[in-house]
Assembly symmetry: C2
Homo-oligomer: 417 residues x 2
C-alpha cells in the first residue's frame, strides 16, 4: 500500500488514533455521565449523585475564617507550597485520623487534590498494563475508571452484608495468580461502602489484613465516610492495625466540603518518596489556599460538632429512604441498611435490567445509578445505587415512591409479581 510506504518514509501519523497513547483507548465517557446531566434537572428527584449536603455548613462562619486567612496570611496562602502538602495541615490530618484509631506521623501524609488524586498516584506507581487490582464487587466507579486508564484488570471479590468476604479474597488471589497475573493491591472501602452502604466488621478487617500481608499485596483503604456513622462509631481503621501494608486514603469532602478538593494518603514510609515525586509531576503542589482554608477552620472551629450535624442530617435522610423503601418497593426487591454514609444498594430480580429502566424512571421524575456502573465486568444489571445524601426527606419519599411504581410496573410486565 502506498500509504504504508509513505508512512515508513516520513514517520508522519495518518490519523488521530495513531497519535494517541495506547491507554487513551481506555478513556471513554462514563455511562453515568449523561445520566447526571439529566438528574440535575430541578424537576427530577436525584438519588443518583454522591454530593454531600452542605445545608448544615455555616457559610458566614466559613466566610470569616477564609477572609481572615487571606488578609492575615495571604502571602503564604496564595503562594506555591510544598509538594507533599502543608506541614500544619498534615499534623491536623493525623489528629483527625486518631479518631479512627490511627497513630501516624505527619511525615507519612501526602496531601492530594481530593482522594481521587491519591487513587491516581497509587495507580501510577503500581500499575503496569495487565496488572490486577482486586476490588470489592461492586466498587467505587471513580476508582474503577482510574484503574482502567492505567490498563489494570480489575478482579472483583464477592461481598455480603458484612462487606468483602475473606474466603472469596483467598480464592481470587489463588485463581488470579494461577493465571500468571501480578496482583498489585486490594482496593476497598471498609466503612459505609460506596455503593453498597455496608461496613466490614473488625474481625474481617483483621483477617483480610493477614491474608494480604502474607500474600505480599498492599491494601488500599479508602475511607471518606468513616466519621459519618449514625448510631455508633465505625470499627477502627484497618491502617490502625497495620502501618506497613496499608495505604490509607482520607478526604475532607464529606466531613467539611468537597469544593476545596483536599484529600490525603497516609502511606508506608517505603512508598512516600515515589508518591511525592509522582504528585509533583502531576500537579506541582496542592493548593495552599484550599489547604490553609481547611487548616484555619480545623484550628478555630468546633469541627467535631460540625461532623455531628452532618451525621444527624444524613441519618434523617437514611431513615426516610429505608421507611419509604419498605412502603413502596415490591416484594422481590432487597436492600442494604447502611449504618452511616450516603448509599443504599438495591437488588431486584435478575430479570430486571436497571440500566434499561433509567429512561422510565426519568419519566417518573426520579434518577438513580444502575448497578453495572460499579463493576468493571458488566455485572450488576439487576441492582442499583440509591443516594440519600442530597435531597430533603420529603423529596426522598417522593422519589422512592415513584421509583417503586416504575419497578412494580416493570415486574408486572415481566410476570414477576
Amino acid at each position: 500500500m502506498s500509504g504504508d510506504v509513505t508512512r515508513i518514509h516520513t514517520g508522519k501519523p495518518e490519523n488521530l488514533t495513531e497519535r494517541f497513547a495506547h491507554r487513551a483507548a481506555y478513556m471513554h465517557p462514563s455511562e453515568i455521565r449523561s445520566l447526571f446531566a439529566v438528574a440535575s434537572r430541578p424537576d427530577i428527584v436525584s438519588l443518583a449523585g454522591g454530593m454531600p449536603n452542605l445545608t448544615a455548613l455555616p457559610m458566614d462562619l466559613m466566610s470569616n475564617v477564609i477572609g481572615e486567612l487571606v488578609s492575615k496570611n495571604g502571602m503564604e496562602a496564595l503562594q506555591y507550597g510544598s509538594g507533599q502538602g502543608h506541614p500544619k495541615l498534615r499534623e491536623q490530618i493525623c489528629d483527625m485520623m486518631a479518631l479512627e484509631g490511627i497513630r501516624a506521623h505527619p511525615d507519612d501524609v501526602i496531601v492530594t487534590t481530593g482522594s481521587q488524586q491519591a487513587l491516581d498516584l497509587i495507580s501510577r506507581i503500581f500499575i503496569d498494563p495487565g496488572d490486577v487490582v482486586l476490588a470489592e464487587a461492586p466498587s467505587y466507579v471513580g476508582a474503577l475508571g482510574t484503574f482502567s486508564q492505567y490498563e489494570a484488570k480489575v478482579v472483583h471479590v464477592a461481598m455480603d452484608n458484612d462487606g468483602l468476604i475473606p474466603q472469596a479474597l483467598r480464592e481470587a488471589i489463588t485463581s488470579t495468580r494461577a493465571s500468571g497475573k501480578k496482583i498489585k493491591f486490594l482496593y476497598l472501602i471498609p466503612n459505609y461502602q460506596n455503593p453498597m452502604g455496608v461496613t466490614l466488621p473488625a474481625d474481617r478487617r483483621t483477617e483480610i489484613l493477614e491474608i494480604c500481608h502474607s500474600e505480599g499485596i498492599f491494601v488500599v483503604e479508602d475511607n471518606p465516610y468513616g466519621l459519618l456513622g449514625f448510631d455508633k462509631p465505625s470499627p477502627n481503621a484497618m491502617r490502625a492495625e497495620d502501618s506497613e501494608n496499608v495505604i490509607y486514603l482520607g478526604s475532607f469532602s464529606k466531613t467539611i466540603a468537597p469544593g476545596f478538593r483536599v484529600g490525603w494518603a497516609l502511606v508506608p514510609q517505603s512508598l512516600k518518596e515515589k508518591l511525592v515525586i509522582a504528585s509533583e509531576s502531576s500537579i506541582l503542589c496542592p493548593s495552599n489556599f484550599s489547604q490553609l482554608a481547611i487548616s484555619s477552620y480545623l484550628a478555630d472551629q468546633p469541627w467535631r460538632d460540625q461532623i455531628a450535624s452532618f451525621t444527624k442530617l444524613y441519618k434523617t435522610r437514611r431513615d426516610a429512604m429505608l421507611e419509604s423503601l419498605e412502603q413502596h418497593f415490591p416484594a422481590g426487591a432487597t436492600w442494604t441498611k447502611p449504618g452511616g454514609g450516603f448509599y443504599v444498594w438495591v437488588t431486584l430480580p435478575p430479570e430486571i435490567d436497571t440500566k434499561a429502566l433509567v429512561p422510565k424512571a426519568i419519566v417518573a421524575k426520579v434518577a438513580y445509578v444502575p448497578g453495572t456502573a460499579f463493576y468493571a465486568d458488566g455485572f450488576g444489571s439487576w441492582s442499583m445505587r440509591l443516594s440519600y445524601c442530597y435531597p430533603t426527606p420529603e423529596r426522598i419519599r417522593e422519589g422512592i415512591k415513584s421509583l417503586g411504581g416504575v419497578i412494580k410496573t416493570e415486574m408486572e410486565l415481566r410476570g414477576l409479581n
Copy 2:
C-alpha cells in the same frame, strides 16, 4: 533457583521494586529539590526559585472578594463542580486569552490544577513508553519531569536569542523519524522562556507552526508569562494562528497567584473529550473554591491594572539584575536580556561546572539553578538560570555581586581570566 520456583508457584512479590510499575523507575528526586531547601534560608539570596512576587497583590481586597464569595455563593463554591471546569471561569479565560490574539470558545477550555496538571494530562493521552517529545534546549524542568515519568524520550531542539531555531526543528524531526521513533508533540514556551528568558518572534512562530502542521506534530504552547512583557506586548500567541494543531496552556499563577492552583488547557475539539475524561480520572474535578475565587476577582476587580503592577515590579528587578551582571560578572560570561517574565540565562566558559559550583555559591550566600536541570540529556553544565522575580532589587544586586565573585575565583583557579 528455588526463589524463582517459589515465585512461580505463589506469584508473591519478592521485593518492593517488583511491586512497583515500570514507570516508577523514572521517579527520582529532582536534582534541584535539595537546592531549594537550602535556598529558602533567609540569609541566602535565592536566584533559584520561580515563585511570583505577591507583594504587589492587595490582600485586603482579595480577602473581601473571597469572603463575599463564600458567604453569598458558598453552596456552589464549596461543592463538587464540573470535571471540565466552571463555565463562568472558562468564559473569563477566553476573555483573557483574547489579549494575546486568541479567539476561543469556552467549550474548548479545560480548567486544571495549575498548568502542571495540563502537562500531565497531555502526556497521559499522547505518550507511550519510548515516544519522542521535542522540546527547547533548555526547557522547563517540571515539563521534563512529567515527560520522563510517562517514559518519553525528550529530544532537545537548539535555540538562540530568538528562541527555537526552525531549521534545527526540521533536522530534529528528520533524524528522530529516521531512528524509527514516533514524535508526539513539540513542547515550547514562546514568551520569556523558562529558563532562557528569550521570546520567539512572530515570523518564527509562523514557520514553526507550518513545519509542525505539515509533519503531523501537535504544538504544545505553554504560556504562563505572556502578559508579563516589560516594554511591549509579546507577539500574538501561536494558538491565535492555528486552532487545529496547537494545544495552548495558560495559568493564573503568575498573573494572579499560584496558591489557587488554577491553570487551563485550550485544545483542538478533537482532543477535548479525552482530556476531560483523563482529568476526571486524575482529580474528579478542579476546585470550585479556587475557580470561583479567581472568577469573582476577575469579574469585580481591575485585573489588567494588577498585571501592570506585577509587570512594573518585575521590570525593576530585571533591570537590577542586568545592571549588576554588567558590573560584577567576568568577561567570558554571557547572558540573555529578557523582555518579560522571570529569568536570565547565563552561559559561562565550558570549563566551568555550575553544578559543582553550587556549594561555593551557597557559602557566598547566593543560590541559582545549574543548567543541567533544564536538559533531559545532561547538557548545560556551563550554564545557569537566574530568577529575578522574588528578591528585592537590593538583594538581587547583592546576590549577583557575590555570585560574580564566586565565578571569577573559579575562572582564576582554572586559568580562564
